[in-house]
């Protein structure tokens, strides 16, 4: 343990150089921009979709229910939500095993917002060289204005992001009008600013450091990688020995490989690494180096793909196997859990019943000589309109039921009833037996649920 201390210290002391990635164009850059636009569009648009006169997707924390279009989930449905999270995690494992860091390069919120922030930065401060020059320039009029403009736009964009985020948890239209009239609650305001600040900090300032120092996924993904996983790699065999040359020069005659050592791949890299040094955990698989190197190769009339998507096996002239035990395992697991989730959701009862025996009295004998057990029933109406339910009890012939009130439950509420179950002791042979309660909605027989309890009589 203690031997780690100095290295940890060194890690903590290392100073970060600001990275100014150069803008890139090309196939993968286009793909990334498409993904970024689609995901940002979804993020900002989804809370505004309406469904049945309410927000279609709303994790209504103040009311403790989650709406996903027609589906309403209650805290009691926590299991489905966990299921959903497990499915999401497994999908990530699956895609990682097959396609490496595809998620990081194209879909991770960190990448998506960083791209957006960098786009704003480029529009205001210019590309890499101009930004480097600006950073070195003394703090004069123009520099101050450029920086103020950039940060103001970043901050506005971040606040809008924070507002949208809170809009997933409390109705966004109401929140908007409250914000306009400055009448939001203290916590709503707090979270809008908190999330806004986090966006500004992570996408504006931290950037690749989030991937390198903060992302747990970046650390444990190596466990999902194997020799057949899609990675971005530099073809050492073809590229080395690297070196400058005249455009028309014949590399063979000069004893050179295809890499002209232009370092463009390093300049475009958002995490500031050199892909030619081999696979590194800092590489987020954004393919910016692939795009830029392909352009270099094109200019020189060399074949493309000196830096390319490949697998370790393919690099070593082996065969890439897509279907392999690891992939099959993840796929099966994913299929099973997703299947269970869908099955559970489809068969999820719109009414729930919970039974607790009265702890104070085991049983009592009524004036008519019947044995009575008392239960507390909790009926949960998971639907969006009120219901009256019929409660029945079964398990032993001759059971009678006495409720203290009608089983009427408002939409999305829980009603508590006290239920007395009675029986003539001669009808019961054993000292105790299992009984079951059934609740059924009066206007719809298909809305029904059952729960078991224990009935006890004196010996």
């Amino acid at each position: 343990m203690s031997s780690d201390a100095p290295s940890l210290k060194q890690e903590l002391y290392a100073k970060r150089e600001t990275i100014h990635p150069r803008a890139v164009t090309g196939l993968f850059a286009r793909l990334r921009v498409t993904a970024v636009l689609a995901l940002l569009g979804l993020y900002y648009f989804i809370p505004w979709i309406q469904w049945d006169e309410r927000q279609a997707i709303l994790f209504d924390l103040p009311a403790r229910k989650f709406y996903i279009f027609g589906l309403v989930l209650w805290p009691q449905d926590f299991i489905y939500l966990s299921g959903l999270l497990i499915v999401a995690a497994l999908s990530l494992f699956f895609f990682t095993a097959v396609a490496g860091r595809l998620w990081c390069g194209y879909a991770c919120p960190q990448t998506v917002w960083t791209e957006a922030f960098m786009w704003i930065e480029r529009k205001i401060e210019g590309d890499r060289n101009q930004r480097i020059k600006l950073d070195k320039a003394p703090l004069r009029h123009k520099k101050i204005w450029t920086k103020v403009l950039k940060h103001s736009i970043w901050i506005l964009f971040s606040l809008w992001t924070g507002y949208t985020f809170v809009g997933y948890f409390t109705p966004i239209i109401e929140l908007g009008s409250k914000l306009l009239t400055m009448s939001t609650g203290p916590w709503e305001t707090f979270w809008v600013f908190f999330y806004g600040f986090a966006t500004y900090g992570n996408a504006g300032w931290m950037r690749e450091q989030v991937c390198i120092y903060m992302c747990p996924y970046a650390r444990f993904q190596s466990a999902m990688f194997d020799r057949n996983t899609l990675i971005i790699s530099y073809d050492k065999e073809r590229g080395e020995p690297r070196g400058h040359r005249k455009r028309k020069a014949d590399p063979k005659a000069l004893g050179l490989g295809s890499c002209i050592d232009c370092k463009l791949c390093v300049q475009v890299c958002p995490t500031g690494i050199d892909i030619r040094d081999g696979l590194q955990y800092q590489c987020i698989g954004c393919a910016a180096c692939v795009d830029v190197c392909d352009q270099v190769m094109e200019k020189l009339d060399y074949p493309k793909g000196l830096v390319r998507y490949t697998t370790e096996n393919a690099m070593e002239h082996g065969e890439t196997k897509l279907i392999r035990p690891r992939v099959i395992f993840y796929a099966l697991l994913l299929l099973v859990i997703a299947g269970l989730l869908v099955f559970g959701l489809v068969n999820r009862s719109p009414v729930g019943i919970d039974i607790i025996r009265d702890r104070n009295v085991l049983y009592r004998i009524t004036d008519e000589g019947l044995v009575e057990n008392i239960y507390n029933l909790k009926i949960l109406n998971k639907q969006e309109h009120d219901h009256e339910y019929r409660v029945e009890v079964s398990g032993i012939d001759g059971l009678q039921l006495r409720l203290d009130k009608l089983a009427v439950v408002k939409a999305g509420q829980v009603a508590e009833l006290s239920a007395g179950v009675l029986i003539d002791p001669v009808l019961m042979t054993k000292p105790s037996a299992d009984i079951s309660f059934t609740v059924t909605a009066l206007e719809d027989e298909s809305i029904t649920s059952q729960s078991e309890a224990r009935f006890i009589k004196p010996r």
Partner: protein
């Protein structure tokens, strides 16, 4: 005691970030089973909205996490007196 700007930032990350993630997870788990109104009643904190309950619980758990992480980091960064490397104390 902490040196350059870069290092201070990394210490800040190590202390605040994992604790933030854990606080998020445990807040979600906690309130999947407990209504914040009920919880606040139990401990006698007055709050007029559930959002306040969620937020206070989250911030509290985060604070606990920060303290734990800071202590862990402090222990990790203390040089072993038995070793030659590191500061002589």
């Amino acid at each position: 005691m902490m040196g350059t700007g870069g290092s201070r930032k990394k210490v800040l990350i190590a202390v605040t970030w994992p604790s933030f993630v854990c606080a998020g997870i445990f807040t979600a788990l906690l309130f999947a089973f407990v209504d914040p109104y009920v919880l606040m009643d139990e401990i006698g904190v007055h709050a007029d909205s559930r959002l306040a309950g969620y937020s206070l619980a989250f911030l509290y758990l985060w604070l606990v996490g920060i303290v734990v992480a800071a202590m862990a980091l402090f222990i990790m960064c203390t040089p072993d007196p038995g070793k030659k490397e590191g500061n002589q104390t």
